[in-house]
Amino acid sequence: MTTSIELEKSPIACSEECLIRPGNTNCGGCGMSVGLNLLSRALAKAGQRCELVIPACCGIVTAGGYPTTGYSVPVLASTFAASPAFASGVAAVRDLNNEPQQVICWAGDGGTYDIGMATLSAAAERNENFIYICYDNEIYGNTGGQRSSATPVGAKTTTTPSGKIESKKDIMAIMAAHRIPYAATLSAAHPEDFLRKLDTGLHMNGFRFFLIHSPCPTGWKSEPAESIELVRLAVSSGLFPVYEVFDGWRYRINIKPTGADPVEYYRRQNRFPIDAMDLDAIRKHASASNERLARLAAVFPVAN
């Protein structure tokens, strides 16, 4: 026996406000999908529409096979390194024609931290008028889980089979150093903060950068149902600081770490060979990083 579902009443009903449509093939527990839904809500609240520019990453797989599209807005697929260049062109023409829609780059950590770094840096330096959102799952997910410069120290990937030796690149410090109008980190475990900061960005001009800590159960070897819990642990233990930077200069910590031990975060992900990791060094590094940010926020606070 089959049961027909009225689409409008189903839990996956989709309105025009929803960026991703039902039927996409994204994994359960995917942080990127949560991020896209929160972005949809932020755009709807602001009464804005957008065009997406997406390089090679899970975000372009989300669109699905031609002639269908998993997105409710126009999407321009860019070459891996060049989404900020493509978006610069689209945004320039939008501005020449006084059109209101946002141009948003939606890219993974490979396209942001690695192959797209020069292009991203140049678009930020030019203060191009678009939003760049990196959903950072700390791995090349599409290709089956290789290290990127966003992969944290200790994590096993197919190209770091014994665990990564190097630390994760501090992309927020790099972007802040460009003195862009706005840069902020986003955690799906704190959706109100997530939405508030997107709203801030949606009401600004110039180059705006967002970093989403994006769980990837396939790559993290974690339980899909625990994705939100994992990113919550990353925030509470200080591994993923939640903060915003205005003009690359003025800092505000949005969610303070509670001092939770990061061991629980590592224990729940099989990508981390926890017995072989120097957790003390990791604790010290996280503590120092958060202290540095707290001092910056104290000395260079956001003017209210």
Partner: protein, 391 residues
Amino acid sequence: MTLELVTGNHAAGYALSVAGEANRGARGAACGIYPITPQTEIVEFVAKYPFSKGRVIAVESEHSAMGVSIGASMAGARAFTASSSNGLAYMTENIMVAGFYRLPIVLAAVNRTLGPPWNIWADQGDTLYLRDFPWIQLYCETNQEVLDSTLLAFRLAEDRRILLPVMVVMDAFILSHTQMETELPEQELVDRYLPPLSLPHELNLNRPTTVGGLTWPRETMSQRIEVDEAMERVPAVYEEHRASFKQIFGRDPGAAVSTFETEDAESVLVTSGTIASTALEVVRGRRAAGEKIGMVKMKMFRPFPGDRLLDACPHVRKFGVLDRDYAAGLGGVWWHDLRATLQGPRDGAMVQNYLTGVCGGDVTPAMINEVIDDLLARRSAGKPVWKGIDK
């Protein structure tokens, strides 16, 4: 219309700018630019141009220069850029995308030897190696031809029967940095020649599509076939826009294949770019001396106008192909394509390759005379002959 002494770079920069300005009543002009010798003056010209509705974005690489132009074109603006040599090599991934996205972008390309070693002189290898992408390629002999071909390129690229990007190509220094008398058309004439751009697949909020997402083999093959059909239409559509160019500007921007005394020729030289000027002088002299030799100048390289070349050379049994390029393990690229064209329709024709001026060496009348002597004396074709060096 004013006659001025300008360089090839100036001619290209002027043409790109007035073409962009001609779209001010529509979605404007926007492009990414990046410098490289010897084309830098082109992007400098564009950067200085006071567009009524345009934005020129000076980016950090050739890859991004084409990336910005792709984004701008996809958003409906008239878009273009310029590059050369290793810059084209670095830009290549996005050059490919512009073609497969069917974007009417015009690229002014100045032929410079690909490095290493470091060499800034003329060699067509940097554009010929892009031969397999969905781009129309037009090679120029004079600065006037650069200007005219650039304007024609926009008309051709934006024609809905075509929708392919166009590369307008000139030799480094010989054209790019040499002043020639050139007619610079006024904006009003350019406005008449170039209607406002209307891109059928422009990004549209009310028509959410994913441009460039996953397609299955059958659908992807369909897209390649559409490119092939558009390429098939290019020579005829080119002639239409050449005719309307003549009407508006009172000049001929040049045929895809132009010929000199080929109707009754038994041997011809096949040339392109500025080598055509030198070769024509020599061939004219040998003709006057009674030798049955002619010359072909290839302006269009992609699509390869093989049929037109064959039609223009009904009795030719010997083709001497002058290549200012070298494809490793093969020889000259023009030679290779011409051999493929002749196979079948002209079996038994002799096709000899001469590698002339490769890596920027001078191609002198004396060298052309040596080539003709060799071609006329030959009974069969051999390996490509390197000229200008004692091997």
